[in-house]
Amino acid sequence: MRIHVDRTRCANHGQCVFAAPGVFSFDDDENLVYDPAPEATPAAEVARAAAACPVRAVTVEGGPA
């Protein structure tokens, strides 16, 4: 599974952080940080994070079958 966040679209809605806190978070300067290849987080949780993004900044490729 590969995660990509389009930072030109991201507007700090925080929905991905709510949905998959093990993958997405904010640093002290309000920048989104994320694990582009998480191993411990279920694919369904990452999919929910991508679907919840109001500006469709989060894309997910591949993942376990």
Partner: protein, 403 residues
């Protein structure tokens, strides 16, 4: 999935209808899936209409949403009646669409001005065509008058200033957006608007319009007048459920009552099999019930439409249990400032101000009712929101929030 519907009709092609259609396919529904939209456009996303589409930074076409390939989209057709006995939806071209499963996702319409207005120059903003008209008016550089100090009115004022138009904003309350996000954030929004050059008039109402054919201005309750060539009213939205009248479905505040599984309820409160309600058309069980709270609530947020889509799909076609339904969340972008909120901040009987720095445009406030966290609002501080949201879920019990 044997025994499930072989055909599902989704009435309403906004985010709620589209996401529910997508969730149905994701759950393996292989039958006929029809999506009916009353606008002559392919499905699109509404939030940019009061922001980037108005300023011109985003072309209206860019608001289009991806539609799964195996969904039949019928655009420009409005549902006019629901015939539950015959399991069909009657459309405004005289045709009927039969269904086995029905998704009601007809959203909401702008509350109209409650009186006569001049024929030209008085607009509302709800759909793509509305946005195109308002954008064209802004492009002429004419003064804009916005009536309504809620999220939509404030965002329109922000976009219009960015587009270079002189703007006046009339707000009935003493502070804009106060009812939904509280006085502190309302005060910051008032400051943003004023600093951006908006003539903000609070605590007054519009009592009448002047202009015979084209609007020339408005009269206010304090006796003053404001001149304008374009007026946009942003008075809120109401569920677009008139077409279901007479079908025996129960309503609450104009929305169609549903249960936690999104099943429509009849007038006696009994679940109706085969019909689910999603998005702004729904009056769903109160997400954070406190003593005295209404049983059902109409919540017109983008995120709610998205959060409930899979629950509704699971109710119609089965499959694995849907994920937890989160508390409500919503946002507003104005003058580059990011207002983000969770829960029901307007329900508070007490607020905690964790940070309030208008100079740096940073706010973190949580809202509480009867000793429990019911909401949180941040401005340019989304990083602080997740912890409050977790408290809302923990203090209300997963059973209630998850449904």
């Amino acid at each position: 999935m044997s025994g499930g519907p072989s055909s599902i009709v989704v009435v309403g092609a906004g985010i709620a209808g589209l996401r529910t259609a997508t969730a149905l396919r994701d759950r393996g529904f292989a039958g006929r899936l029809v999506l009916i939209g009353n606008e002559p456009h392919a499905p699109y996303d509404r939030p940019p209409l009061s922001k980037e589409v108005l300023t011109g930074r985003l072309a209206p076409e860019a608001a289009a949403l991806p539609v799964p390939a195996d969904v039949e989209v019928r655009s420009g057709r409005a549902a006019v009646r629901l015939d539950r006995a015959a399991r069909r939806v009657l459309l405004d071209d005289g045709s009927a669409q039969s269904y086995e499963g029905l998704v009601i996702a007809t959203g909401a319409t702008a509350v109209p001005w409650p009186g006569p207005t001049p024929a030209q120059g008085v607009l509302t903003l709800r759909g793509l065509d509305d946005a195109a008209r308002l954008r064209a008016a802004l492009a002429e550089g004419d003064p804009l008058l916005v009536v309504g100090g809620g999220f939509l009115g404030c965002e329109i004022a922000s976009a219009a200033r960015e587009a270079g138009a002189p703007v006046a904003l009339v707000c009935r309350d003493r502070l804009p957006m106060r009812r939904t996000v509280g006085a502190e954030v309302g005060a910051l929004v008032a400051r943003l608007q004023t600093e951006a050059g908006v003539s903000l008039r609070t605590g007054v109402t519009v009592t009448g319009f002047s202009g015979s054919r084209r609007v020339t201005g408005v009269e206010l309750s304090d006796g003053t007048r404001i001149r304008a060539r374009t007026v946009v009213t942003a008075l809120g939205a109401r569920p677009a459920t008139d077409w279901t009248r007479g079908s025996g479905l129960g309503t609450h505040s104009g929305g169609l009552r549903c249960d936690h599984r999104r099943r429509a309820l009849d007038e006696e409160g009994r679940p109706v099999e085969g019909i689910v309600v999603v998005g702004d058309a729904a009056a769903a069980p109160h997400p954070l019930p406190y003593p005295g709270a209404p049983s059902h609530l109409v919540i017109g947020h983008w995120s709610g439409a998205v959060d409930h889509a899979d629950t509704a799909a699971a109710t119609l076609v089965g499959g694995p249990p849907p994920g937890p339904v989160p508390p409500p969340s919503f946002w507003s972008d104005q003058y580059g400032v990011r207002v983000r909120a969770v829960g029901l901040p307007g329900a508070a009987d007490r607020v905690e101000v964790h940070e309030y720095d208008p100079e740096r445009r940073r706010v973190e406030i949580s809202q509480h009712r009867d000793g429990r966290t019911v909401g949180a609002v941040t401005v340019n501080r989304t990083s602080r929101l997740a912890a409050h949201r977790a408290r809302i879920v923990a203090e209300h019990g997963e059973g209630v929030v998850v449904g």
